[in-house]
């Protein structure tokens, strides 16, 4: 059990840099579309790793199932809202930043 616990801690700690990059990307990237890239991808992976870590430490299966349900909902919600924002930005003729 101790090893599983430590593995969970490792996963949680590995998830943190992704959240930080999400924020760094949101602050540094030049336009809406690239910021959306940073936001959706980095945060979902970070949350995924944290959920993986917490599931390894969870004491019963219901908790694990709930954690996974939360991750799936966040995935659906963030990819759908990312697409919606990008789409309506396109329809409003906001041109992507080009190097």
């Amino acid at each position: 059990m101790i090893t599983l616990d430590n593995l969970g801690i490792l996963c949680i700690v590995m998830g943190l840099p992704f959240f930080l990059t999400g924020t760094v990307g949101l602050l540094r990237f030049p336009d809406i579309y690239t910021r959306l890239h940073a936001l959706t991808k980095a945060d979902n992976v970070g949350l995924g790793l944290i959920i993986l870590g917490l599931s390894l430490q969870a004491d019963n299966l219901f908790t694990v199932a709930k954690l996974i349900l939360i991750w799936i909902l966040v995935l659906i919600a963030s990819s759908a809202s990312c697409h919606l924002v990008a789409r309506s930005a396109m329809q409003k003729n906001i041109h992507p930043w080009v190097k």
Binding site: F18, G22, F29, Y33, H37, A42
Partner: protein, 176 residues
């Protein structure tokens, strides 16, 4: 109106199977939400009934025939790709001179309208370097963070996998 007609054309066994599958799905969600308390099902059954009714009302024409093998091969693919995309974004955001070179690409998909196409569009956003920006009938406009990565091959690969997932036969020539 059209949807109702389509619903009535379907045989009763199909409708029954559809209701049964959705009932199972929502029951599973309810079980996860409430834990193992038996009393919660007093509210649970009516709620599940409402959910099944509403989902049939909102998306009546579902030929949900996901292939089991497809799901089994898709989940590891998806997990691997999405973690790669996270690492990719991390590398780009933290590099000193922002390593971005964005551009737009149009892609014509052969996936049928409805669930497979929506699933396709939403998964594009979670793959490394791509973001679906628009969907006009069967043309997806993809925003890419770097024009130098093989976007075309990546998207085609994803499309084929989703076709296997939904048991769609790829029509060559349409997917340029």
């Amino acid at each position: 109106m059209q949807d109702n007609n389509r619903l009535s054309i379907h045989s009763h066994s199909h409708l029954g199977r559809c209701i049964f599958l959705r009932f199972l799905l929502f029951s599973a969600v309810w079980l996860v939400l409430t834990g193992s308390e038996a009393e919660s099902w007093i509210i649970g059954f009516p709620a599940i009934g409402c959910a099944v009714f509403l989902s049939l009302k909102l998306s009546p024409s579902s030929h949900v025939s996901l292939s089991f093998v497809g799901i089994c091969s898709f989940i590891p693919f998806f997990l691997r790709q999405s973690s790669l995309s996270g690492i990719d974004v991390m590398r780009r955001a933290l590099s000193r001179r922002l390593a971005v070179n964005p551009g737009l690409v149009s892609y014509t998909t052969f996936l049928p309208e409805g669930a497979p196409r929506i699933f396709f569009v939403n998964t594009i956003s979670l793959l490394p370097g791509t973001l679906s920006a628009d969907l006009q009938s069967n043309t997806v406009t993809v925003h890419t963070i770097d024009k130098n990565i093989p976007i075309w091959a990546n998207i085609q690969n994803l499309e084929l996998r989703i076709a296997i997932l939904w048991r769609v036969t790829p029509q060559k020539g349409k997917a340029l």
